[in-house]
Amino acid sequence: MDRLLDVRQLKTAHLGPLDLALQPGELVQVTGASGSGKSLLLRALADLDPNTGEVMLNGQPRDAMAPVDWRRRVAYVPAETAWWGERVDEHLPVDFARAAALHLLEQVALPEASLGWEVERLSSGEKQRLGLVRALLNQPRVLLLDEPTANLDLENTKRIERAVRGYLAEEDAAALWVSHDTLQRQRLGGRILTIANGKLEVTAWN
């Protein structure tokens, strides 16, 4: 099978060296104690922290791509999403497809009007759902999700899980999903990477 994301000897100040590969359509879970380096792994893959090693997307090396293009294709969604404008739609990609936005909003149970909502009045759960929608509108090939359901109730958690699964299937994209929730781990299934002391220690199949 082709490798969508191929990572060799990835190393940062507090991480690695580690190897990792994601297949198209695959959702791989990342787990580990707090402070073990899960977020650092995602940040390094999004090229937000200095790192060395070989990282390739569809066989194309990262260094051959402009940083802007890389981060659109390899989307990092932090646990606490950042909002800087006054209204939600100020945070969307300039040329986003309206139809795609409506489709995604429907999946996470938010109305079309939410694009015009004031950021000031969003709940943490709404921020998290809209943060995912905004990242998906860039049509990334790889999703780096750092506890994307941390602020959500079970119903909305399942919605996010379905939305991400749906996106991966439709776009043949892949995701790394950091999760602490044992039940969620069972629901999501697939490969589980355990990270400890900045290294990938166990690779388990669920």
């Binding site: 937000l48 200095p50 940083p67 659109r72 932090p78 950042a82 990242a135 860039n138």
Partner: protein
């Protein structure tokens, strides 16, 4: 009109006012007496020294000496800019960004003014060159220091916003644009305020000095206008340049936010 020379007695009388004020603060237990006396003593010593240096410089008007004086002024101003940063760049950059942008802006504007507007012979005539450069450096220094300080503080505070923008596919420049605008504004505001209030709220120091020295008020005003425009141009150029260079330096070639390039200054 003739310049009335001040005698030692005149200065002593003025000094007596400061001493009296210091005595008053000691009596009122406000704890400012020592600071007032030390600062007063520094004023006397520093200004007398500068007076002597300028006198020597005027007596031996040579380009080399004027240039040496200019370089020393720049070196000190560069240090001041660095020292006023709460978070400054580590290594040579901490000094370099301020000093280089001041050199480019203040020196360029001074040379331009000397060669095209004021036009003394020779163009580096110390009586004109040194005070002009001094005023430009002093103001540019303040603008750059304010601008850089605001930039690094805001970027530090808003790092999540910046990385959020980067993660959404913004370039480093787009990600930092609001912080850069705020920093440039902060550096230029004092100069803009000074222009707007000139002559109404306060009589600018240089103009006051020229009038006291016997110059006709309208001549003094013309000089003041020239100086204010030069200061605005120099400060603006220097601040914009410094803020741009610094904001670029906060990101690496892969457009990652590199706050590790900053270190805490001595005031934090």
């Amino acid at each position: 009109m003739e310049l009335i020379s001040l005698s030692a007695l005149d200065l002593s009388l003025a000094a007596l006012l400061v001493v009296a004020l210091a005595g008053l603060t000691v009596w009122a237990r406000m704890g400012l007496g020592r600071s007032l006396l030390i600062a007063g003593a520094r004023t006397v010593i520093q200004l007398l020294l500068v007076g002597l240096i300028l006198q020597t410089l005027f007596d031996h008007a040579q380009l080399g000496w004027v240039a040496l004086m200019a370089v020393i002024m720049l070196a000190v101003a560069g240090y001041e800019v660095m020292a006023r940063q709460q978070r400054r760049f580590a290594g040579l950059w901490g000094y370099g960004i301020g000093a280089v942008t001041m050199f480019i802006s203040a020196f360029a504007v001074t040379v331009l003014a000397l060669t095209t507007m004021v036009g003394p012979t020779p163009w580096w005539e110390p009586q004109y060159a040194i005070p002009l450069l001094g005023m430009l450096l002093g103001n540019t220094m303040t603008g750059i220091a304010l601008g850089l300080d605001r930039l690094t503080q805001t970027v530090w505070r808003e790092r999540r916003t910046i990385e959020g923008r980067l993660a959404m596919g913004a370039s480093w420049s787009e990600a930092v644009t609001t912080m850069r605008r705020e920093a440039a504004r902060s550096g230029l505001m004092p100069t803009i305020n000074a222009m707007a209030a000139a002559g109404i709220v306060s009589l600018p120091g240089m103009m006051t000095g020229q009038i006291l020295a016997g110059a006709p008020p309208v001549e003094a005003v013309k000089y003041q206008i020239l100086i204010m425009f030069l200061i605005t141009a120099g400060t603006g150029l220097g601040t914009l340049g410094a803020v741009w260079f610094a904001s670029r330096r906060l990101f690496d070639t892969r457009e990652r936010l590199r706050l590790d390039r900053l270190k805490a200054g001595r005031h934090s």
